[in-house]
């Protein structure tokens, strides 16, 4: 898995097809609607279940971060989620929030003994395990996640 912060997503081709472009309020209750919509769209495209589940969970985690940290659970703020696909069938998810931005330097290791029983701190780690490439752009306010 490749991941970077502010390194630029050099794999982004110009001929991506936009499948979804959704905006939700910064409210945790709104997240599942997007996750389920992404999953349904991938299902319609006959993306294999294993790949679809990985993407859906990564979207769930990225939206949770955007709502909780980016919007501070403020429903007057908005999170944008885009689902795109390139001609080779690779899937790109772009999630943008209005917050201060996430830095990979602040990522914790959930597998360390000190964090094993923690009730938080696994989201970004999980995204990086589920997806093939993860990039943070716009000062960490945007996450771009590829599944090949």
């Amino acid at each position: 898995m490749n991941m970077s912060s502010e390194a630029g997503d050099h794999r982004t081709p110009s001929n991506l097809v936009e499948l979804l472009d959704l905006r939700i309020p910064g409210d945790a209750e709104a997240i599942s609607r997007v996750t389920d919509r992404v999953s349904a769209t991938l299902s319609e495209l006959e993306i294999p279940e294993e790949k679809r589940l990985d993407i859906a969970l990564a979207v769930q985690e990225a939206l949770a971060n955007a709502v909780v940290h980016g919007c501070k659970n403020d429903s007057s703020k908005q999170v944008r989620c885009r689902l795109q696909r390139d001609p080779r069938g690779r899937v790109l998810i772009i999630i943008t929030d209005p917050g201060p931005g996430f830095s990979l330097e602040h990522r914790s290791d959930p597998k360390s003994p000190a964090n094993m029983y923690a009730d938080h701190g696994r989201g970004v780690y999980l995204i990086c395990q589920l997806m093939d490439e993860v990039h943070f752009e716009k000062g960490g306010r945007e996450i771009r996640m590829w599944k090949f």
Partner: protein, 127 residues
């Protein structure tokens, strides 16, 4: 209001059903739906907090009909695993899906839990 009364079922706003039964002094919590951030995790937290508060620290969570657990749901399970163990109990899992097992493994908590094929085995393991 959630209830721990035997047989009580709660349909959460995000589509998580929570059914709680008591068998041989073990709380058996059957879930149906995704366990993820929002009301699903909040409602399960309330149920388990109420059980632990009542001294019921031997808990079985049946995940057979849970297609997805996110990091918020995982955090809830490991937090209550720790608190029940501190009180001499535990949380044991029944029939997690292949994807749930993979998710728990990815974040390094799979081995913290005892996992069983059915409720009977999980309940008996507390004897």
């Amino acid at each position: 209001m959630l209830s721990l009364r035997p047989g009580g079922t709660r349909r959460g706003e995000e589509g998580l059903d929570i059914n709680v039964r008591k068998r041989s002094e073990v709380q058996v919590i059957q879930l149906r739906g995704a366990l993820r951030l929002g009301s699903a995790v909040d409602e399960l937290r309330q149920v388990v907090e109420e059980a632990v508060g009542n001294g019921d620290t031997r808990i079985v969570v049946n995940l057979a009909e849970v297609p997805m657990i996110d990091s918020s749901g995982i955090g809830l399970l490991v937090r209550f695993l720790a608190s029940t163990k501190q009180r001499g109990g535990s949380i044991k899992l029944v029939q997690p899906s292949k994807f749930t097992v993979q998710t728990l493994r990815l974040v390094g908590v799979l081995n913290l839990f005892e996992i069983f094929d059915d409720d009977d085995q999980a309940v008996s393991s507390f004897a």
